[in-house]
C-alpha cells in the first residue's frame, strides 16, 4: 500500500514519463493524437456497420455498442500490454535513482487513460446523434470507470512484476488477450448467446469490466448482480494483488 501512495505522490514523474511516451509515438505525425482518434473512429465505424448487418441489428443500436465496447477493450489490452514491458523498457530510471515501482504503472495508466478519453469522444457523439440520449443510468458510468481503472491498475502492476521476472509472459499475454477477445461481448451482445452460455459469461472478468462502463453510457440498465460482481472482482483482485505487490515490487529492480 505504501508503495502505491509513494508512487501517486511522484505524479510529476509519471506525468512526464507518460507524456514523453505519447510524444515519442506521435511526434513525427503532424496530426499526432488526432490521427489515432481518427483511425480508431474509422475502425469502430466499419466494424460497427459490418457487425450490425451480420447480426441483422439496427445500426443505431449496434454501432454505439460496438464503438464503446471496442474503446474500453483497447484501453484494457493496451494497459496490460504496456505494463508487460513497463519495467524492462524503463530500467534506466530504476537503476539510477530511487523511484517507487508503482510510478511506472501510473505512467502507463495515465498515458492510456488520456488516449481512451480522447478516443471516447467519437462514440459519445455517435450515441447522441443516434438517439441514445443520456439518462439516469448514464451517471453510473463514473462508478464503472472507477472500477475499471482500479482493476486495470492492479492487474497491470501484477503483470508488470511477473513479466520483469519471466520474460516469456509477454507473448503468452498477447495470445491470451486475443483469445479473450472472442469470448468477450465486444462485437456481439450477451443476449445473443443461449441462456446457459450467458451464465458462463459472468465468469469472464473482461466482460464485466466492459459492461459496467458501456452499458450505463448507452443508457442500458446494469443489473445489481453485475455491479456486485464487478465490485467483488475489484476487491478480489486487490486482495490478491496487494500482498503480491508488497512482496515483490522492491525486488523488481534486481531483475532488470
Amino acid at each position: 500500500m505504501q508503495q502505491l501512495f509513494e508512487g501517486a505522490r511522484a505524479w510529476r514523474l509519471w506525468y512526464l514519463m507518460g507524456s514523453a511516451e505519447m510524444r515519442r509515438r506521435f511526434a513525427r505525425a503532424r496530426l499526432g493524437q488526432v490521427w489515432i482518434m481518427l483511425s480508431s473512429a474509422l475502425l469502430v465505424s466499419s466494424m460497427g456497420l459490418v457487425w450490425s448487418f451480420l447480426w441483422k441489428q439496427p445500426v443505431g443500436e449496434m454501432l454505439p455498442f460496438i464503438a464503446i465496447g471496442m474503446m474500453v477493450w483497447q484501453l484494457l489490452t493496451s494497459v496490460l500490454n504496456d505494463s508487460a514491458l513497463a519495467f524492462p523498457a524503463n530500467s534506466h530510471y530504476f537503476l539510477n535513482q530511487y523511484m517507487s515501482a508503482s510510478t511506472i504503472i501510473y505512467a502507463v495508466l495515465y498515458r492510456n487513460g488520456v488516449t481512451f478519453l480522447l478516443n471516447m469522444i467519437y462514440p459519445l457523439v455517435l450515441c447522441i446523434v443516434l438517439g441514445n440520449a443520456p439518462n439516469l443510468y448514464t451517471c453510473l458510468t463514473v462508478v464503472g470507470l472507477a472500477c475499471l481503472t482500479i482493476s486495470c491498475f492492479l492487474m497491470g502492476y501484477v503483470i508488470a512484476i511477473l513479466c520483469a521476472r519471466f520474460r516469456d509472459i509477454v507473448q503468452i499475454l498477447t495470445t491470451f488477450l486475443q483469445v479473450i477477445f472472442f469470448v468477450t461481448p465486444v462485437l456481439w451482445k450477451p443476449e445473443f448467446l443461449p441462456l446457459q452460455a450467458h451464465q458462463l459469461l459472468a465468469w469472464n472478468p473482461f466482460a464485466l469490466l466492459i459492461a459496467i462502463v458501456r452499458d450505463p453510457l448507452l443508457g442500458r440498465p446494469v443489473s445489481g448482480f453485475t455491479w456486485i460482481s464487478a465490485l467483488g472482482l475489484a476487491l478480489f483482485t486487490a486482495l490478491l494483488a496487494l500482498p503480491f505487490i508488497g512482496k515483490f515490487s522492491r525486488r523488481v529492480v534486481y531483475w532488470l
Binding site: R12, L13, L16, A20, R23, R24, A27, H92, Y93, F94, L95, N96, Q97, Y98, M99, L162, R165, F166, R167, D168, I169, I172, R250, V253, Y254, W255
Partner: protein, 253 residues
C-alpha cells in the same frame, strides 16, 4: 548534517539466464518432465557485509577493479537497490549523477528538457522554471534550445544534460566516473562549475579509475574487492597497497 550509514549491507544478484527467465520452463520443470532442465538461479554476491559511515565533509573515492561492487554500492546509496540484508540510513538530499540525461526526452525541445530533467532530480515544476534561465545561459545553446533535442549533436546534448544536472545542489552527490561535456573551451568552463559543485556538497562519493582525480578530490578512499570493503582510509594509506596487490601475481586466493 548529511550522513550515510550502511551496516552489514549485503546485496545478491540472481543471475537469470534465458531458461530461468522462462515461465514455460519453470512450469515444465515443476511437472517434472525431462523436457526442461531448470537449475536454480545462480546468485552473485555484489556486496558482502559492507559497513561504513560517511559524514559531512567526506569526499570519498571508491577504488576497485571491474566487478568489485563499486556501481552496486553507489546504487545502494542512491536508494535504487534495497539491501537484502543489513540496513542503510541516509540523511540529506541525494543526487545521483550516474546518468545525467535521466528524464530527458529526445522529442521535446531543449527548454522543455530543462524542466523535465530538473523535475526528475526532485524539483517542482515551478522551481524548475525558476532555475531555467541560468541553465539556458550556462549551456550556451541559445536558439537551439527551442528545437527538439533529437536535432542536437551528441556534444550539444551532453552540454545541456551537464548544465542541468550540475545546476541543482544536493547535499549528497554520487558519481560513477567524472562527468564532462563539450569542446575544449566548454570543458574548461564545465570543469570549473563541477569543481565548484563538488566543493559545496556535504558528501561526495565518486567511483573512478582516474587516480589523479581521486587523489586531488578525495580525502577518503574505500577500496572495494569482491563486494567487500578491503580497506578504507586516506589516499596515501590505501592506494599504494592497492597498486601493489594489483600488480602482484595472484597467490593463494
Amino acid at each position: 548534517m548529511a550522513r550515510i550509514s550502511l551496516s552489514s549491507v549485503t546485496v545478491d544478484f540472481p543471475i537469470h539466464n534465458a531458461s530461468s527467465r522462462s515461465l514455460q520452463l519453470h512450469v515444465f520443470g515443476a511437472i517434472g518432465g525431462a523436457l526442461a532442465e531448470h537449475k536454480k538461479a545462480v546468485v552473485i554476491r555484489a556486496l558482502d557485509d559492507v559497513t561504513l559511515t560517511l559524514e559531512d565533509g567526506d569526499r570519498v573515492g571508491i577504488l576497485g577493479q571491474n566487478g568489485a561492487g563499486k556501481t552496486t554500492l553507489l546504487r545502494v546509496m542512491a536508494g535504487a537497490y534495497p539491501p537484502m540484508r543489513g540496513t542503510i540510513a541516509v540523511d540529506g538530499r541525494v543526487s545521483s549523477l550516474t546518468n545525467i540525461n535521466l528524464g530527458m526526452d529526445l522529442e521535446a525541445t531543449g527548454l522543455e528538457n530543462i524542466v523535465f530533467r530538473c523535475v526528475f532530480m526532485g524539483l517542482t515544476f515551478a522551481e524548475a522554471k525558476q532555475l531555467s534561465p541560468s541553465i539556458q545561459e550556462f549551456s550556451e545553446l541559445g536558439e537551439y534550445l527551442r528545437l527538439p533535442v533529437r536535432t542536437y549533436s551528441a556534444g550539444m546534448f551532453l552540454r545541456l544534460a551537464f548544465a542541468i544536472s550540475t545546476s541543482i545542489e544536493p547535499e549528497i552527490l554520487l558519481m560513477d566516473e567524472m562527468i564532462s561535456a563539450g569542446d575544449a573551451r566548454f570543458i574548461a568552463k564545465a570543469q570549473g562549475r563541477l569543481t565548484e559543485l563538488l566543493r559545496r556538497v556535504k558528501i561526495l562519493v565518486l567511483a573512478t579509475h582516474d587516480v589523479g582525480i581521486m587523489q586531488s578530490l578525495c580525502n577518503k578512499v574505500i577500496w572495494m574487492h569482491q563486494g567487500k570493503v578491503r580497506k578504507a582510509g586516506t589516499f596515501q594509506e590505501t592506494y599504494p597497497i592497492y597498486l601493489a596487490e594489483m600488480h602482484e601475481p595472484r597467490s593463494g586466493g
